[in-house]
């Protein structure tokens, strides 16, 4: 499959660009932060995103979604990255949908997917337990109880966990702490007894909840996929998330870069535009290359997810690693090249650096992805 956008995808890119610029620009991100908004995003914006088909971008048409696929989802995420738009796009439209599509029974899919597409039900993935991403590192237990299981344990960094209606919880039904085998996924209603959800405000002004599970009773029908075989589903969910985050970070990189190059063309020192200094030109040109490489890996990962490529995991890790590194460089250079004003809260450039940092950490940074890649490649 060629690494170019087709006409439909270009249309989605253009409409996403226009939408987020108008409805959820960086100024709106600033407003949400300054008002300490409890939800962390604008629910009206999310309702409009549902109307646009964004919420259901991965939901199959048979379940009322747009069924556009991962390349389209990535284009939406890229626009979100450029505008720093807060929305439960990742938690619900990408992670929640992928969990249901990859592991859900026909009943679960029929129950939840249309609600996701309509923007009426929010999901959150409660998988990670350690501060450093380690998907098989799961201590939360699921022990048989009644016609289902009782869940006990704790989860950290559950994106949009404080507003989610349904949690996708990874728990261990058997096996040792770092073993992929024996992990089971559960669909848990956020109002379940025994569930403690604490909102944490993060450096990027997004929300990630800490969640405690104290004898949370779930029904056998709430198991997602097979008992003990949840890790393969979790990997698919995480890979979709990694590719989507790579796309969001690509948006962060391009916008930070554009703003920085514009600044180089305006700011004068020593009687000339600072963009005429070769030391800055070479760094900007190098950064341009890094962002272009990040774009290639991101598109490849999204195409791989859409085409069911057997190397989709490989490409997802590659994209997450490369786009993360590009975003780190783009935002660090962004602040540095803005000089003193780049350190102030008055201008937006710092927001991009904060978001890039959080997105890098989410579902594994380059150290994690590099190790995963090396293992997949046999070293």
């Amino acid at each position: 499959m060629a690494l170019v956008l087709n006409d439909d995808q270009k249309m989605i890119r253009d409409s996403a660009d226009g939408f987020f610029k108008a409805e959820a620009p960086v100024a709106e991100h600033r407003r949400l932060r300054d008002s300490k908004d409890e939800t962390g995003f604008n629910r009206e914006t999310w309702a409009k995103m549902a109307e646009m088909g964004f919420a259901g971008v991965l939901v199959p048409e048979a379940h009322g979604g747009a069924g556009f696929g991962h390349v389209a989802a990535g284009l939406i995420m890229e626009a979100i990255g450029r505008n720093l738009s807060a929305a439960p796009m990742l938690s619900t439209a990408i992670l929640g949908t992928t969990a249901l599509v990859a592991g859900g029974s026909p009943e679960q899919q029929a129950k939840y997917l249309p609600l996701i597409a309509e923007g009426k039900r929010l999901f959150a993935l409660a998988a990670d337990e350690a501060a450093r991403h380690a998907p098989a590192h799961i201590k939360t237990t699921a022990t048989p109880s009644g016609n289902g299981f009782k869940l006990n344990g704790a989860k950290g960094f559950v994106l949009d966990g404080h507003v989610a209606d349904t949690l996708v919880v990874a728990a261990r039904t058997r096996g040792a702490e770092n073993e992929p085998d024996g992990i089971t996924l559960f669909l848990v209603d956020a109002k379940s007894a025994g569930l403690g959800i604490t909102r944490r405000s993060m450096v990027d002004s997004r929300n990630a909840a800490s969640i405690s599970l104290d004898d949370v009773q779930v029904d056998g029908a709430d198991v997602l996929g097979e008992v003990g075989k949840g890790f393969a589903i979790l990997e698919k969910v995480l890979d979709a998330g990694r590719a989507a985050l790579a796309a969001e970070m690509l948006g962060v990189s391009t916008e930070s870069f554009t703003r920085t190059v514009d600044y180089l063309k305006q700011r004068e020192q020593f009687g000339q535009k600072i963009g005429s200094f070769q030391s800055l030109q070479h760094r900007a040109a190098h950064l341009f290359c890094e962002v272009e490489l990040a774009r290639s890996t991101t598109l490849r990962a999204l195409v791989a997810l859409d085409s069911g490529d057997e190397r989709a995991s490989l490409f997802a890790s590659l994209a997450k690693a490369k786009s993360g590194e590009a975003a780190k460089l783009a935002t660090n250079e962004g602040v540095q090249m803005h000089g003193g004003i780049g350190m102030t809260d008055d201008i937006d450039i710092g927001f991009f650096m904060k978001r890039a940092r959080a997105a890098q950490e989410t579902f594994g940074d380059i150290a994690f992805q590099g190790d995963r890649l090396a293992r997949m490649l046999g070293y």
């Binding site: 190059v261 535009k273 070479h282 070293y379």
Partner: protein
């Protein structure tokens, strides 16, 4: 079956039948690379056969038109051919500045007679070309070149000196930048000439490099007569051709990393061994995977750039990006290969030491970010043409 899949099946069958077994092993030494030419020394009968078969099919230049000796393949078909060759680890049948550099410029700027004369011979590997660009006083500032070509009516009289002429001592013909109008502004007096290296007055002298090898020469022109019909394009417009050709040269130099070699990690596995399912040297493992992330990202970018060009999309000055990034990557690869070999990599002479191939390769790669436009010149071009930064 879709056309492209039947093409894949035919291609696979043809390669199975026609690619000699010896040509399905990794390139291990310089003589494994075939450069063709009048005086070509084939290292084996298989190498000769492989070139002849691929040349006859036009698959040394799959996307060139068939009337010029090419395969006439579409971009998608060429991708299939490349992937089928990779599948059986087939070596490239021909390495050629004619293919990578002159060919694209000839297709764009050459007249019909020049195309028909030169392109098929390039495709079949019959004529080996070298590039007369740099001069002692014209390196990064190439347009200040001084080699003169005086209009003598029916021919040009060429006098001057070129330097860093790759394989000038082995080449049959040269494509050469000359100054035809000494009074014009520096970019406007330049013309693009093609001539036979066997012409009276041409001499070459190899330059010994830090690697010990002499792939580059000084090339001298002393009253060399070049027929007027060997002028490519328009007199005084040679700089446009020079720049166009440089974009292909830069892509070629940048693209070297994907030429079917073992990856760094494959070599590391063999050399360093494994422990508990990961590379035994965990420190180097981190360095290697960082390199391979970039190498892969770069290979995907090459692919995307070609796809975008085919679809009429893409950004300018890409060749500068590819040249800059590709050569820096190759240098990083060579550094890692040296690290993987440790002190064994320092061996320099003697058959038991592989004649110092590794160290010489590492040293050779230092030139990648100098030849064909330095990394710094390419960053200048990106800053100026893509980012439109002031005063660059």
């Amino acid at each position: 079956m879709p056309d492209i899949e039947s093409f894949r099946a035919e291609t696979r069958a043809w390669l199975e039948a026609n690619c000699p077994a010896e040509m399905r092993t990794p390139v291990a030494r310089d003589s494994d690379v075939c450069w063709g030419g009048r005086n070509c020394q084939f290292s084996s009968e298989a190498q000769k056969l492989w070139l002849e078969r691929m040349g006859a099919k036009g698959w040394t230049v799959p996307e060139w038109p068939t009337q010029y000796g090419g395969g006439g393949l579409s971009r998608d078909e060429a991708k299939v051919l490349a992937s089928e060759m990779r599948r059986i680890s087939a070596r490239s049948p021909l390495s050629s500045f004619g293919i990578w550099m002159l060919g694209p410029a000839l297709l764009k700027y050459g007249n019909e007679a020049q195309k028909l004369e030169h392109l098929p011979k390039i495709a079949r590997g019959e004529i080996r070309w070298c590039q007369g660009y740099s001069e002692p006083g014209a390196g990064s500032d190439l347009a200040s070149l001084r080699t003169s070509a005086e209009d003598m009516g029916d021919h040009y009289l060429v006098n001057g000196q070129k330097v860093w002429t790759s394989y000038a001592d082995k080449a049959d013909w040269i494509f050469c930048l000359v100054r035809t109008d000494p009074t014009a502004a520096k970019h406007l007096g330049i013309s693009f000439l093609l001539f036979d290296m066997a012409s009276p007055g041409v001499s070459t002298s190899p330059i010994r490099l830090i690697s010990g090898a002499s792939p580059f020469c000084q090339t001298f022109f002393d009253n060399v007569k070049v027929p007027k019909e060997n002028l490519m394009g328009v007199a005084g417009k040679g700089w446009d051709i020079a720049k166009y050709l440089l974009t292909h040269e830069r892509e070629m130099i940048g693209d070297m990393d994907s030429a079917g070699r073992d990856t760094v990690s494959q070599i590391a596995r063999k050399t360093l061994g494994m422990e508990a399912n990961i590379l035994a040297d965990t420190g180097l493992r981190t360095d290697i995977v960082r390199h391979e992330i970039n190498a892969w990202a770069f290979a995907l970018t090459m692919e995307r750039v070609k796809d975008e060009a085919k679809a009429g999309q893409g950004v300018g000055a890409l060749s500068s990006m590819l040249k800059y990034y590709g050569t820096e990557l190759n240098k990083s690869r060579q550094e890692l290969l040296m690290s993987i070999s440790g002190t064994d990599g320092l061996a320099w002479e003697g058959p038991a030491e592989g004649e110092g191939d590794l160290a010489r390769g590492w040293l050779r790669s230092r030139a990648n970010s100098i030849e064909g436009g330095t990394s710094e010149i390419n960053l200048n071009i990106i800053a100026k043409r893509v980012l439109e930064l002031p005063g660059a």
